[in-house]
Amino acid sequence: MLLRKLTEACGAPGQEGEVRALIRSEIEGYVDEIRTDALGNLIAVKNPSAPGPKVMLAAHMDEVALMILGIEKNGLLRFRPIGGIDPRVLVAKTVLVGEKKVPGVIGSKPIHLQRPEERQRPLSIDELAIDIGAKSQEEAEKVVNLGDCAYFATKFEEFGQDKIKAKALDDRVGCALLIELLKQNYDIPVYGVFTVQEEVGLRGAGVAAYQIQPDVAIVLEGTTASDVPGSDPHKHATSVGKGPAITIMDRTVITHPPLVRRLIELAEEHNIPYQIRRTNTGGTDAGQIQLTAGGTKAAVIAVPCRYIHSAASVMSKKDYEAAFRLTSVYLQDLQEREGN
């Protein structure tokens, strides 16, 4: 399954090579042009010279990860998060380090040795280290370089009625949607952009949009679902199983009102479930794309994911299918209204 391959691949911000190669192999033959730009964005084009509105579909390849910044005399690895990771989700997780995917575990002082006050507070990053089973610095240096990244060693799994559990659903779920959308046929120019470095500040999307200067952009994302324990109903950003989330506003963008209205109308006409994203926090590539050059109409369609930015996030296949249908229906609609 596509989503299995995508979520089990590893790609920290700036180190998206493995994900990029995988995506490239999936879409070759379905697109007219394919290139990688200076920042590493993978840009795939269908019908580049066709008349009609130029559409950019974007999903980011990078995932949050841990960068190795030091190797201790005893072979333990010191690290820092790249992108937003809550240190509290790290303790005792198994990880894979670097391109060689060296297995490791994030270790900490066991409960027996903790002082009572230490048990009362979460461990900080400085109290954690990655153990790759090396007995010395020299041995560790043979398989790990400073700057390598560690990734959660989570296997993709289907469970429950229609749920998926995996790492990096943010935003491999968007990559999977985009790959499948590029396998369909259109009459208008469609630019599929797999962006880099979203998790550290939406860095790839802006330069990609500058090269393309699209008329319309849809960002495909995995977004936070907060229908989880300890969260009041009025703080639920999205809920898993209630359809893809349409963003009105987040920290980086106020989506284009007529475009959002059209998405909602189409969802209702075609009986596609959807929900309005109910928070103004977070950010996506749309924030950069919208403001590139003279401006672009932009919207975000996102699959709700619980426990995002952790070792295992959870999404619903039904939400995925609905997100695919909604984007697909929108592209058809755009083609009929504004294409030739």
Partner: protein, 333 residues
């Protein structure tokens, strides 16, 4: 001019949903400019063509949007929960009213608890609905609202919601009406989404690519009881910005604006704003860099329902805009 200010400050235009403000302004200026258009980001751009072949391109920018709220949840009893659109201090909202685009009015109040712990999550809007269904018939999740308050004329001092930055819009409207032929081609931008990150100015500056960009926006003052340490005062004239968190004004632009004010006997003061930014912050970093400055209107109680300006400062700003519009930019280039 007070009527222009009243109309503009009573219009509805939270960030991203500035349509009504755009319509009102277009109607006010349409007979006085050569072209009017709206771009992808919703910026209203009015052009007044210059008469001199060697004339330059000047962009004036005042933002059309105002701070507001976005509805995030409607509970089973019909109460709304919300997040902020732009900078809102929770303590200024309690007991205030909000208005939605269809005219629905609501009251903001708070859950019980210590004021020290107050944040937006603890506030709600009561639109008088008795159930979720009744509320949803009037207001939907994702809808934007604004603070609801009428304009009040106190003589020299004027109070209204959204003086930030409808007063800048009013200054540009008044300048457009007063200006005769100018050597320079003037681009008047009524920009969008300033309150959420100077967004509209960024794309419009890219499209216009002016020789000089001037933002018109409000600034804080230090002239109130136990106020912040800040030199700007109401009634002391147009404030020429030296620095804020979005821009250090190019010394040439600062000197240029200062000389224009001095030569034309326009009351003026200098402004150093420790926190905050204006459209000029976005304009000056566009393309390969654009000369930019800000003419600020001193304003008390910014980002509340009662923002106060002095009409004499406002008139000084109109005069300074006119002086810039008709100036020779040769020495600045």
């Amino acid at each position: 001019m007070k009527e222009i200010i009243r109309t503009l400050t009573e219009a509805f235009g939270p960030s991203g949903y500035e349509d009504q403000v755009r319509e009102v302004i277009a109607d006010m200026i349409k007979d006085h400019v050569d072209e009017i258009s709206t771009d992808v980001m919703g910026n209203l751009i009015a052009v007044k063509r210059g008469t001199a072949p060697e004339g330059k391109r000047i962009m004036f920018s005042a933002h059309a949007d105002e701070i507001g709220i976005i509805v995030t949840h409607i509970d089973e009893k019909g109460f709304l929960r919300f997040s902020n659109v732009g900078g809102l201090a929770p303590e200024t909202l309690i007991g205030n009213r909000v208005r939605f685009s269809n005219g629905t009015i609501g009251v903001i109040y708070k859950e019980k608890g210590d004021l020290k712990d107050l944040n937006l999550d603890k506030l709600y809007v009561d639109i008088g609905a008795e159930s979720q269904e009744e509320a949803e018939a009037k207001v939907k999740v994702g809808e934007f609202g604004i603070i609801h308050r009428e304009f009040t004329d106190l003589g020299n001092r004027l109070v209204a919601k959204s003086m930030d930055d409808r007063i800048g819009c009013a200054i540009l409207v008044e300048a457009i009406k007063q200006l005769q032929d100018t050597p320079n081609t003037l681009y008047f931008v009524f920009s969008t989404q300033e309150e959420v990150g100077l967004r509209g100015a960024r794309t419009s500056a890219y499209t216009i690519n002016p020789d000089l960009g001037i933002a018109l926006d409000v600034t804080l003052t230090g002239d109130v009881p136990e106020g912040p340490r800040m030199e700007v005062s109401l009634g002391k004239g147009a404030a020429i910005k030296v620095k804020d968190s979005s821009m250090i004004t190019n010394p040439k632009v600062k000197a240029f604006l200062t000389k224009l004010a001095e030569d034309n006997n326009i009351p003026h003061q200098f402004e150093v704003l420790e926190r905050g930014g204006t459209d000029a912050g976005a304009i000056h970093l566009t393309r390969d860099g654009i000369l930019a400055g800000t003419i600020s209107i001193p304003c008390r109680y910014v980002h509340t329902a009662s923002e106060m300006v002095d009409i004499r400062d406002v008139e000084a700003c109109v005069d300074l805009v006119k002086a810039v519009a008709t100036s020779d930019l040769k020495d600045l280039m």
